[in-house]
Symmetry: C2
Subunit: 359 residues, 2 copies
């Protein structure tokens, strides 16, 4: 049924019809199309055209005497044809901006805020996925003793700070933590987390050689670092926010349908399947049957990868009904990922900020 060479008029009709349906949520009818776009044609003619478009699989009727709605194929055609950027609202722009400018630099906080703002901008549930935690590049390692018999492990990476708490013995002099932090930092600087974890046994030996007198203490620290690494590896990198926004779409006024989607979002493994194989330069839309999950056949999933050196580091995406504002969503995702990329750049050139690079 590959038949993408539509006549110019069919193309026009289809694109306008889909556009109009996305905005209004009311089925496409011949008189509808006429009053909006083709005042010089009769409804009968348009009916013929719509009929043809239906035969080609771009539209479908819900029942005999109803208007038509786009099929997944119709949406796909629309998306392929008119992916133009639309400007986002100013307040959303500034909000996204301020997140990336803000002082919340814990990786987890940033992820949460991004997911929040994407959901807000699109009005659909949003997902941020961090892949390759273990690919993060270590910049510094700090171990900070606390009063409560715990220490805070703080690892600065090229993408933000990650942290964990570990139990410690309380009779260790504070200088030891400074020594340990310095040793760990110089040892692991520019290595990845997975490097660190894989070779941690070797390092432990080296460390104990160099700082013989604190052997027992460092043993304990390394042990905790290992636990930390394992807990990070186990941790799912999936963050979903704004599930409730699904209920704003008329398509999901039916609670049962909404719950199906929300349940999927609560399941990291399934979410990973959804946002697998994304592009990094253009937003990937998976429409209907293109989604690898049986229960989401009436949804569209939109996602964009953030890649460094061709390697996917993070994915940002949303999920909603097939009838969604594709252009706006693509713009929002691209803008967010773009800001992310900018941030990285700043981060690498280390403190090139403070210049007035307003746009």
């Amino acid at each position: 049924m590959r038949d993408d060479d539509l006549s110019a008029r069919k193309r026009e009709i289809l694109l306008n019809a889909v556009e109009s349906y996305i905005q209004s949520a009311s089925p496409i009818t011949s008189s509808n199309v006429r009053t909006n776009y083709f005042k010089n044609l009769s409804t009968a003619t348009l009916r013929n055209e719509l009929n043809a478009l239906e035969a080609m699989g771009y539209l479908k009727q819900l029942h005999t005497s109803s208007g038509r709605v786009p099929t997944a194929r119709g949406y796909r055609y629309y998306v392929n044809e008119i992916m133009c950027d639309v400007p986002l609202e100013d307040n959303i722009l500034t909000e996204i901006h301020s997140i990336f400018q803000s002082r919340a630099v814990y990786l987890g906080d940033v992820v949460n805020e991004i997911a929040d703002v994407v959901s807000k901008a699109t009005n659909y549930p949003a997902v941020v996925m961090l892949k390759g935690f273990e690919k993060l590049q270590i910049k510094t390692v700090k171990i900070i003793p606390l009063l409560t018999g715990q220490a805070l492990i703080l690892i600065e990476t090229n993408s933000g700070i990650i942290n964990n708490f570990m139990p410690i013995k309380t009779d260790i002099p504070s200088q030891t933590y400074v020594d340990a932090s310095n040793f760990l930092t110089s040892t692991f600087k520019d290595k990845t987390l997975s490097d660190m974890m894989q070779n941690i046994e070797d390092y432990r030996i080296q460390m104990c050689d160099e700082l013989q007198e604190f052997k027992g203490i460092f043993d304990r620290m390394i042990e905790s670092l290992r636990e930390f690494g394992e807990s990070i590896a186990k941790k799912s990198g999936v963050t979903a926010k704004g599930e409730l926004r699904l209920l704003n779409s008329p398509e999901y006024h039916d609670l049962e349908k909404a719950k199906k989607v929300i349940d999927v979002l609560a399941n990291p493994t399934e979410v990973e399947q959804l946002f697998d194989n994304l592009d990094s330069d253009e937003v990937t839309f998976k429409i209907g049957a293109e989604i690898p999950l049986e229960e989401l056949q009436d949804c569209t999933v939109a996602g964009l990868d953030y890649q460094v050196d061709g390697e996917s580091i993070a994915s940002v995406g949303i999920i909603g009904p097939q009838r969604m504002d594709y252009a706006k969503i693509a713009s929002a995702l691209k803008f967010v990922v773009g800001e992310f990329a900018n941030l990285k750049q700043l981060d690498n050139t280390q403190k090139g900020a403070e210049d007035g690079q307003e746009e």
Copy 2:
């Protein structure tokens, strides 16, 4: 209409009827009561009794020929009469336990996790409110320089760690941060956050006297500390979780009704009104008209304060329909707040842990 001296039989009927309605969600009928509790009485007799209870305002009919449902007053009577503890499910117990035992000691993380687990245990949206941030007692202050031109401010308090990031100049030797941290810690130890903020100007002068050579640096730090204090004071202490669980109750299958409640939960000012004036030893239920918000007249709000020296530090609560499992909810809230109190105790006696005080 104060008429709380019900006959023993009316009392029995009312309590059982309310109990049964809470469990089944289907209206109380005479035959219903008969088959469940009073097999030796006829339905006619029970009808008379139900009629009387209705006249007294404990029950009401939805329409002439329907069964009865409890009024707010009926629930109130039920709550006052039979507040017994019910055991929580084991997995919930252990989950709560593990949160408090866990190593996540950032105050914000703990609050999030508590709200999550309370919502999970009760199956209703849960709220945790921190009041009197400024009453927190400082134990240590640490300023930790980071690579990105920021420093992490870490304040250990008697209730957990709070943290913030501040921009710094990059040319400060690391020893300065150690000196500053030590100075701040010794100066503010056992003072409250509000003490610190109120007197920060004086301390700034003192600090600059004592460590003259770092004047400019400390000025900057104090400035950031002040910003930090202000941002904390502004920050609402309200955390709500599990809003979606509202949709599990048949009462809120109507999206519009559910949204009303969810909107309130998104508004910290209104939430503060809801959970105002709670008890600290017994769970406070606000039923129907007892709730100080017009739009929540068909809800019940349950809450419990955590107090130290008669001063409310935190509140934990849930919101749901009037038909809720009061006993179970009271038990859950009490258990969580109890764990909170235990934690404080441990914290105060500084490292009295590690003993096998299982129950």
